[in-house]
């Protein structure tokens, strides 16, 4: 595959908050076939860290985030969150354990029920959990709204359509923060926003990360954005991990052929890479019948027979840089 393996996991680090091992998510397709959305992906998250997950459509990055939140059911694997395995849990037990993980979605406008007022939207989590009520929770809602830059008395009384896209994303962030989460999973949180607004939200997330002690998984197709927010970056392709590395290392010296192609495709970049057209060819194969061995081999200029026969495993090629490629 662009590959499998655990070399990148920090097993003896006591500060690991979330550890996902060999996660497999498959969706049923027609005629009894399955879509291999995520095929044996492992990640770990150290407290206070931001892991960027990049890749193109169909790489499984969104499914990975949703499966960790258990919004999708995984076929196999483990999801260890603070020593609890979420994988087999269901119902209220899962809900309790998962409370400290919250998710932000791509489209802020569609993430908010248009008929409800902002105060009720933000208070929803508190209501569901019933741990704070009455004036105390109102004060908390106000404080959180102020923290995301939506101060003012009338804010809580208004409905989502009275706000712009950027403001709606602030409301979504407030809804998640009100639960006092430890881990925030962000699925393309700025993709639907204009450039100037995107900068506001990215800055806000950096501030909140410090203020609330957040650990984040930041899923995005935008490499420049991922570079800006991440401590560590994982590149995915067709349900597999290609490369995991510290952010600067990945952007300065991408080692996996797909990482290189991805970076070279950024328009107007000034990286020391050849034309993208020489690094990648053709189209994404079907996730129903992914290629044998390395899944990237059908588009890779470096592919050999070995790539078809044997799936590469992640291995450390430089300090903090793990690559699943036979030729890197």
């Amino acid at each position: 595959m662009a590959g499998t393996g655990h070399a990148h996991l920090r097993l003896d680090d006591p500060d690991i908050l979330l550890r996902v091992r060999d996660l497999v998510v498959e969706f049923p397709a027609r005629k009894g076939q399955v879509v291999h959305a995520v095929s044996g992906v492992s990640i770990d998250l150290a407290r206070g860290e931001t892991l960027g997950v990049v890749g193109e459509s169909g790489c499984g990055k969104t499914t990975l985030g949703r499966a960790v939140m258990r919004l999708e059911d995984a076929q196999s694997g483990t999801i260890e969150f603070r020593e609890h395995d979420l994988f087999g849990l269901g119902g209220s037990e899962l809900a309790v354990k998962r409370r400290d993980m919250q998710m932000i979605f791509q489209d802020p406008v569609s993430s908010l029920n248009p008929r409800r007022r902002v105060r009720d939207l933000v208070r929803e989590g508190l209501e569901i959990w019933g741990n704070e009520s009455g004036p105390f929770s109102d004060a908390r809602v106000e404080a959180i709204l102020a923290a995301v830059g939506l101060a003012g008395e009338s804010v809580g009384e208004r409905r989502p359509h009275e706000f712009s896209g950027g403001q709606c994303q602030r409301i979504c962030i407030a809804r998640a923060l009100v639960m006092d989460p430890e881990v925030l999973i962000l699925d393309e949180p700025v993709s639907a926003l204009d450039v100037s607004v995107q900068a506001q939200i990215l800055n806000l997330l950096e501030d909140l990360k410090v203020e609330f002690g957040l650990t984040m998984v930041f899923v995005s197709h935008d490499l420049a954005v991922v570079r800006n927010v991440s401590d560590r970056v994982m590149v995915m392709y067709l349900g597999k991990v290609c490369e995991v590395a510290n952010t600067e290392r990945l952007f300065d010296a991408p080692a996996h052929p797909y990482s290189r192609a991805l970076l070279a495709s950024i328009p107007g970049h000034e990286l020391n890479l050849p034309d993208a057209s020489t690094l990648i060819s053709g189209e994404l194969p079907s996730p129903i019948e992914p290629p044998s061995g390395c899944r990237f081999r059908t588009r890779c200029p470096m592919a050999t027979e070995e790539c078809a026969e044997r799936e590469p495993e992640l291995r450390e090629v430089a300090v903090g840089q793990f690559v699943a490629c036979h030729h890197a």
Partner: protein
């Protein structure tokens, strides 16, 4: 406002202008009529009417078959009973029956529909299976059977008709729910720990209420009509209804037509009123603007223009405006731009900047009605604003090619790629089918589609997103245009595919000596793939010039702020980005002075009062009082 950049899916940082559509005269007339009927139903016993059962032949007040007039407004029936009083009293069973059937059947249907639509799977299959069977069973026969067994009273008819109404509501609500359940807020609630029943009650039910109510109004009318039909067949309620009045009067239609016609009119008007109100509510939920071009009469060829301008596309002082509920939006405000043959120009801006409207102003295809354009849009010597429709459509097919953001909507889903290409070629030139097909295959090969001789017979859905966009490019190029207009051509595509498409467009421009106008929100796309750039803000071009120069040394404060807010690969991780606070200006009533003044960090009174004059320095142009580092010009 929202329509300015409507074709893009980006939300931008401005609240959408919510203009509630005006409901119109007939809607309010219908509401009034419904209120009158409800009043009649409620107050029939209170208002001073004649006793509807009093026999005129005995009291002497009304004659048999008296024609409508001053004495009895609606006339009298065969026994001299007052028809007006009877019609008023008939309103009550009509209202009670429809209200009961609609509310009981409607609520049950909504509940069933939400459950089916949200839980899907087996629950859905069972529920919808039962609903289909009920749909297939003729309702009138069921009602026959019911009345034959139990007789026809309200207590029987209401539950019978309510059950028959459930599948209709369930089907509508299920559809709405499926669409809603795909939206992120349902996932967001689940992620927060909400139970499924909470999602149904708190998130979904309030949203399906409006469409269900709209359907309820249509259902209301249907119940009244059904009761009339039953009465006509002699199976109506065992009391006085409009249906029974019509049924009683129909045998005497020659002698005393008013006996059937007046209650029938009352019933007809009531049903119509409910339908109109239902339609009105539906429009509230789903306002859809219609795409039309603008008609022009005069012939626009102006030899003076073609002689004077060496640019292939020359836009002079173009202003495009259209009416909205909130006032007239000036989406493009005094824009001038030249594009020479062989050059690619990027038009970049955020949502609402007017970039898409500028492009649409060239072709004249708008997503809203009532668009007004002034100024000049000259392509190869022809002013498109004054050209005849025939001239314009010829220009659009041959001189100008268009590539849109979403290739799936640009292509006809039920026709093969080849037949669409062939049609485009044959509309504008004499060419045999076989020759056109050969050319279609050739043009698919030119845009980099592998196995073009097989792909030519495929349907759009059989191709990937990148391949579809290649097909729309092939379509745009079919008649070898000299000007290619592309609106966010790669926004829907992945970055490696985007690279392929932009590479292709740029190579085609060079090979064919074609001019390209590329509209995008993506600064990097402009930086990487265009020769010149025009930055738009608030409907105006605030800065224009060669791309490299503008990106290296931006003059306008907005361009500088925009570049500073873009995450870059040469910045260290966790670098703080400059952000532009505030909102873009209103395009209905733009502020005086510089459009960017309210959000600019160095703006002063002059910026807020005086519109900056365009400054031209060699091949660069900008309108800013304090360009570059901020010193006054």
């Amino acid at each position: 406002m929202a329509v300015v950049d409507a074709p893009t899916s980006r939300t931008g940082d401005r609240a959408p202008g919510f203009g509630r559509p005006s409901m119109g005269f007939i809607f309010w007339l219908s509401v009034t009529w419904i209120l009158l009927v409800v009043l009649a139903a409620a107050l029939a016993d209170v208002v001073p009417l004649r006793d509807p059962d009093a026999l005129g032949v005995r009291t002497g007040e009304i004659e048999r078959f008296e024609t409508p007039g001053k004495n009895a407004w609606f006339g009298g029936d065969g026994q001299g009973r007052d028809l007006f009083a009877q019609v008023i009293h008939g309103a009550r069973p009509a209202m009670v029956l429809s209200a009961a059937v609609t509310s009981i059947g409607g609520s049950l249907g909504v509940l069933v529909g939400v459950v089916a639509g949200y839980f899907r799977g087996r629950t859905d299959s069972v529920i919808m299976g039962v609903a289909e069977i009920m749909f297939a069973f003729p309702a009138i026969i069921l009602l026959f059977a019911v009345s034959a067994i139990w007789g026809m009273t309200m207590a029987i008819l209401i539950p019978a008709m309510a059950i028959l109404a459930v599948p209709g509501y369930a089907r509508i609500v299920r559809g709405v729910t499926i669409a809603l359940a795909e939206r992120d807020f349902v996932d967001a609630a689940r992620a927060m720990g909400a139970s499924r029943s909470r999602v149904v009650i708190k998130e979904l039910l309030p949203l399906v209420a409006l469409p269900a109510i709209a359907f309820g109004f249509l259902g209301f009318g249907l119940v009244i009509a059904t009761e009339g039909a039953l009465a006509f067949l002699g199976l109506g309620l065992e009391q006085r209804t409009w249906g029974s009045l019509i049924a009683g009067g129909q045998g005497l239609i020659r002698e005393a037509p008013h006996l059937a016609l007046i209650p029938a009119t009352a019933m007809f008007l009531t049903i119509m009123a409910f339908n109109y109100v239902g339609d009105g509510i539906r429009e509230l939920i789903d306002p859809r603007p219609i795409v039309v071009g603008r008609k022009r009469k005069a012939d626009g060829h102006d030899p003076a223009i073609s002689a004077a301008s060496e640019a292939l596309l020359s836009i002079r002082n173009l202003t495009t405006s259209f009416p909205t509920a909130g006032g007239t939006v000036t989406a493009v405000d005094g824009v001038s731009l030249d594009v020479r043959t062989g050059r690619s120009v990027g038009i970049v801006g955020e949502s609402g900047s007017g970039k898409t409207m500028l492009l649409r102003s060239i072709t004249g295809a708008f997503p809203v009605l009532g668009v007004q354009r002034t100024g000049r849009v000259v392509v190869d010597g022809t002013d498109l604003l004054t050209a005849s429709p025939a001239q314009r459509s010829t220009m659009l097919g041959t001189e100008i090619g268009i590539v849109s953001q979403n290739p799936l909507t640009a292509l006809n889903p039920v026709r093969t790629v080849g037949s669409q290409l062939i049609e485009v070629m044959r509309v504008h030139r004499e060419i045999s089918k076989a020759a056109a097909r050969a050319r279609a295959i050739e043009s698919l090969a030119q845009v980099g589609i592998p196995q073009p001789d097989q792909r030519v017979d495929m349907y759009p859905h059989q191709l990937s997103g990148g391949m579809r966009q290649r097909v729309t490019i092939a379509l745009a190029l079919a008649n070898e245009p000299r000007l290619l207009l592309a609106d966010e051509p790669t926004t829907a595509l992945d970055v490696t595919i985007q690279d392929q498409i932009l590479r292709l467009l740029s190579a085609l421009c060079e090979q064919r000596d074609m001019a390209l106008v590329l509209v995008t929100h993506d600064l990097q796309v402009v930086r990487g793939w265009t020769d010149d750039v025009a930055v738009m803000y608030g409907g105006q071009i605030v800065e224009a010039g060669p791309t490299a120069a503008v990106f290296d040394d931006p003059q306008h404060q907005y361009t500088q702020a925009l570049l500073a807010s873009t995450p870059r690969l040469d910045l260290r991780p966790h670098s703080r980005l400059a952000s532009i606070e505030g909102q873009p200006p209103s395009l209905v009533a733009p502020p005086p002075g510089c459009r960017f003044a309210a959000r600019c960090t160095i703006a002063d009174d002059r910026c807020r009062a005086e519109d900056p004059m365009p400054v031209q320095i060699r091949d660069r142009e900008f309108r800013c009082w304090y360009p570059g580092t901020g010193k006054a010009t």
